[in-house]
Point group: C2
Chain length 639, copies 2
């Protein structure tokens, strides 16, 4: 297999830290997704005969033409040329007859673009560079042309040169020359291509483009509005192709997919991209099992060859179980430290706050055991954990150590320790160096706080050198059986959809819809990877009356806004379901990138700005005139 | 090869007219793009064992489960079931023990969705239907389930039932069930998939998504604006990823492609889609020849197997030649009737308006010869052609018949006829039944009017039964050497870009930039198919100074709006070029669809409306508040 994209090609110095571990682990192998495919022809249609990165001893004696950027120059004798494929050493001719070639190559600033032609020769014995994939050869240049000269750069194009993210985004076109960005974008392209092959070529899915100029959906407060040239009429940018994909099923398209651009205006919420991409899928005549198998096959098929193959099926867990054991609907199952219910041990406690908790409905005592916590965590860590729980959850959290001789000041803790420690140690199989964090309160709240602390402690332990999560491990998990409705935050007497109003109820709970709708489970499923939600979907409602009942009676929505969908369901809608995978997040996890901005060519900043072109920008009133809008300046601003 | 999508599968009655000819020509063969690929598994992950359309004698005796729509029912004995794949006949059980199955299948309205299980059996001798691909077999049903009942439909789901387009768009989800829409959307999906394989797998292109929330480009009067939550700040939806693709080249991505959603607000201009899709391509170190070869290979590779293979390279023609011979920059080269310059024959004419024309700069006499025009065209046709030229171009057009004995009333025509007819007949090789249309005037105007009449006459001849253009013929043509600049329409003393300001000048004309810029040819190229422009691109300017000179000095644009691009060119931009293919138009021509709306799943109407969901729509002022905008109602409207 031909290794056409790896760090080795570039011969760069390796970065440090956890990212480095991830990169080294994956890039020392190769990135050719799909083992049977031929290498793409990188030099078709262009002036070059070869890429810089591909030359080897097998090319010795060949006349080659290369195009690339000057990476650096040594003593006006050698020049290292770079393209997307790698680095190669070029020998600058020193003869008088080649003075013009020498002048070009010696005077061009670093990052200038040149085209050189010459012969591939062996490096002199002892001068080979085994760290460089092209390190056995060099190119003896005969002719050279300066294609473009480079001005003084705002930063060096070297991965090890640290830049602020703002600077990287302002000069994104320079940042894209880095190995890491090239790797991320190429891996993304290849994974998506494999997904398309799987869906389109292997399983008969139809790639269908749906509109992005649409109308507002009920409750679509996060949708960008676009004024039209008709006074007072607006399009909206949809948050997902949800309605269209369902209508395609009504239209008999049977199997739809799209790599869909979606839009969400989160306003002030930081670190969200206003536009993002999802692998959007919908199928007719399918159930949950079918969708899950499809997605498992999809990920297995498109998974990069430089990673361990995925094992399917992925495990699954109910929402209730995820909450009880991990305190979240997106458990990071790469490590243990599960939440344990220890209420029964404290039924007869005399400690006030435990009594209190247990006497209330849903009251419970919960704990997690931090392996080797006593070894890695310092006293101030424990204190900051307790403070975090108090500040963010208003929850008391008590540390329990198996060794009683530690001196802790909290009187309550002491009394607990004396009374139940030994029982706890036995129940939770606590080792000598472990620490238990204990809390009490309403079930969901107690689980949530411990779920959060579980992740905080994992980060802490890893920062202190404990190996908790294998960076090469990708831990997928299905979470199922979510509630169909949740009480509205602002008015808990009313219900809102836990996901969206088209989600079908669990067949076993159908009758509860008319009696205790808040207890109905849905046919929604989430796909979680390493503690991040990377996808979600559901079996949809295909019955017009049921959909109408849920929208009008239970959710009290204005059904007029969805009349086209309700009508469509009445005209022979097949049973159907689907899913959407968040592509940016998925690629981010696969590449081990610190931010989704690192897997998007031109991301917006934290605040939704394009720092390169400075969008969004002010427009003169006359450019707004055709759209019949004007700016309403806030009272405290200057127009 | 497995034929998985053809009209044969459906057994529908064939439509009539020219479309029918196109469809029969192409669909009697098969639509499996790529000959080596295995058939997709259409029944993976779902309840059915087979699709309706795939059952054959080879399935005899098999127990199958099918899901589909009730197409029609005969005497409560047979039922024809339809899915995306085709039709199959189902035998309704008549035994008492199967009464419930019979009840379900006999009572469900047409277009209801059912799932049936049963055995594939031979049709009784004499009852085979050779017109139906599944016509040798039928399915003897054992169990049936009504998955969804269908209400009374607004129209029948049959291709031969004529509907207004407004009705089709209002109930698009029903219209999508038609054979033609299924065919169009599936062919589109498959052609795009093959294009991706060619670009990504064979030639190392990277599929990169670029933002659609961007800033206004200079002169971008057709860009939708999107208010942000910052008062007075707007994003814009780009007309193409032009800037981003060039910046990707500066970023060293080497080969970029994207199936890119683009936006153009044409306001009142009818029959334009406000959002459309282009195959967007950019390469580094490439010249015109490289791009052309790439595109020829791309189309050849992705061309549907049910059409004749494409022959490459495509012919090419300069813009000047296209104008002179066809009167347009997008010649329909499927037929002759070229424009001939006959000025020399009239140098000594005494006919006033010819003298006039020839005495002016660029004055010329031009003609086209309509083969068998005298046979197919009626006198009123000729009159309406002349009226068209007079009304739309203010041009006099004279018909010339080789047979002098025809009586034409125009005195001028008579005098021309007598004087030059025989010479003309000789020069233009005019046959007895032909008609020549002659005009005189400024070169470009005379060519334009004859170019237009050439197309009008071709339509007329074909409507009268002449076979001029083979419906199976796809005639590609490159048009090159466009002017780089055009005089501004509103102020001819100033220049504007003929295409866009990033287009590189023709290398031979570089010096003219500083002396006679209006004479500079560009490195722009258009791809024309059957008289429609389906693509265009150029080699770009990669020199920052040249780009600045053109923007600031020649075009007098505000360079601040493009400062990021100008800066990028200075930081080692490689030579680069690219192209964009209009996907909607291409698929429209390939499928022979009458409108691009027929190759888009959910198109906007003529006026830019979504007739299904009624977008754009009014929004209450409070929904505009977060965006700091308000509607400026025109004086004559009611808020």
């Amino acid at each position: 297999m031909f290794c056409w994209l790896s760090r080795q090609y570039w011969g760069f110095s390796t970065p440090t830290g956890r990212m480095a571990h991830l990169i080294r682990g994956s890039l020392s192998r190769t990135l050719v997704v799909g083992s049977q495919r031929r290498t793409p022809e990188f030099s078709s249609f262009v002036a070059r005969t070869n890429t810089c990165g591909e030359l080897r001893s097998s090319h010795l004696g060949q006349e080659v033409t290369l195009c690339g950027w000057i990476q650096y120059r040594r003593q006006n004798i050698f020049l290292v040329l770079r393209d997307f494929h790698g680095l190669v050493q070029v020998v600058i001719p020193q003869e008088e007859s080649a003075a013009s070639v020498k002048k070009i190559l010696c005077e061009a600033p670093v990052e200038s673009v040149v085209q050189v032609s010459g012969t591939v020769i062996s490096r002199p014995p002892g001068q080979e560079n085994p760290k460089m994939p092209t390190g056995e050869i060099e190119v003896k240049v005969k002719t050279a042309e300066l294609l473009n000269s480079c001005k003084k750069l705002p930063f060096e194009i070297k991965d090890f040169v640290k830049k602020t993210e703002a600077l990287r985004l302002q000069y994104r076109y320079l940042d894209l020359r880095s190995f890491q960005m090239q790797y991320n974008l190429r891996l993304r392209s290849q994974m998506v291509m494999k997904m398309r092959e799987y869906l389109c070529n292997l399983h008969g899915f139809v790639d269908i483009e749906t509109p992005t100029l649409f109308k507002r959906t009920p409750g679509g407060a996060k949708e960008f509005v676009i004024p039209s040239r008709e006074p007072g009429k607006f399009y909206c940018l949809p948050q997902s192709p949800q309605q269209f994909k369902q209508l395609l099923m009504v239209g008999g398209l049977d199997r739809y997919f799209q790599v869909a651009r979606c839009y969400r205006d989160e306003g002030s919420r930081p670190d969200r991209q206003p536009e993002f991409t999802q692998i959007d899928i919908e199928m007719s005549f399918v159930d949950q099992t079918g969708i899950r198998s499809l997605i498992e096959g999809l990920l297995q098929y498109s998974w990069p060859n430089d990673k361990d193959p995925l094992v399917v099926p992925f495990p699954s867990m109910t929402f209730a179980e995820a909450l009880a054991s991990y305190g979240t609907d997106k458990p990071d199952t790469r490590f243990g430290m599960k939440i344990i219910d220890i209420s029964d041990m404290f039924r007869n406690t005399e400690v006030g706050f435990l009594q209190d908790a247990l006497s209330k409905p849903q009251g419970a005592v919960k704990a997690i055991c931090i392996s080797e916590g006593a070894k890695y965590l310092k006293r101030k860590d424990i204190e900051s954990i307790r403070k975090f729980a108090a500040d963010h959850f208003n929850q008391e959290v008590l540390p329990v150590f198996p060794k009683a001789n530690r001196n802790w000041n909290t009187p309550v803790a002491q009394s607990i320790l004396e009374e139940q420690r030994s029982g706890l140690i036995k129940l939770m199989e606590i080792q000598e160096d472990d620490v238990v964090l204990l809390t009490a309160g309403e079930h969901k709240k107690a689980c949530s706080v411990l779920g959060k602390l579980r992740l905080e402690c994992a980060d802490l332990l890893e920062a202190r050198g404990s190996v908790l999560r294998d960076p090469a491990l990708f831990s997928f998990l299905w979470v199922v059986d979510f509630p169909l409705f949740l009480p509205k935050e602002e008015n808990p007497g009313e219900l809102e959809s836990a996901h969206h109003p088209f989600t079908a109820p669990h067949p076993s709970d159908l009758q509860l819809l008319y009696t205790e709708p808040e207890k109905v489970r849905s046919q929604h499923y989430d796909l979680v990877l390493n503690g991040s939600e990377i996808g979600g979907g559901s079996i949809r409602i295909h019955d017009a009356e049921l959909q109408h009942y849920i929208l009008a009676t239970l959710l009290k929505e204005d059904v007029k806004l969805l009349s086209h969908l309700l009508q469509a369901l009445g005209f022979g809608a097949p049973p159907h379901g689907g899913i959407a995978l968040g592509l940016d997040r998925l690629i981010c996890l696969v590449t081990g990138a610190p931010s989704i901005r690192d897997v998007i060519a031109f991301p917006k900043s934290f605040r939704g700005h394009d720092l390169m072109s400075s969008a969004p920008e002010s427009l003169p009133p006359e450019e707004l005139k055709p759209y019949h809008i004007q700016v309403s300046w806030p009272a405290d601003s200057e127009a």
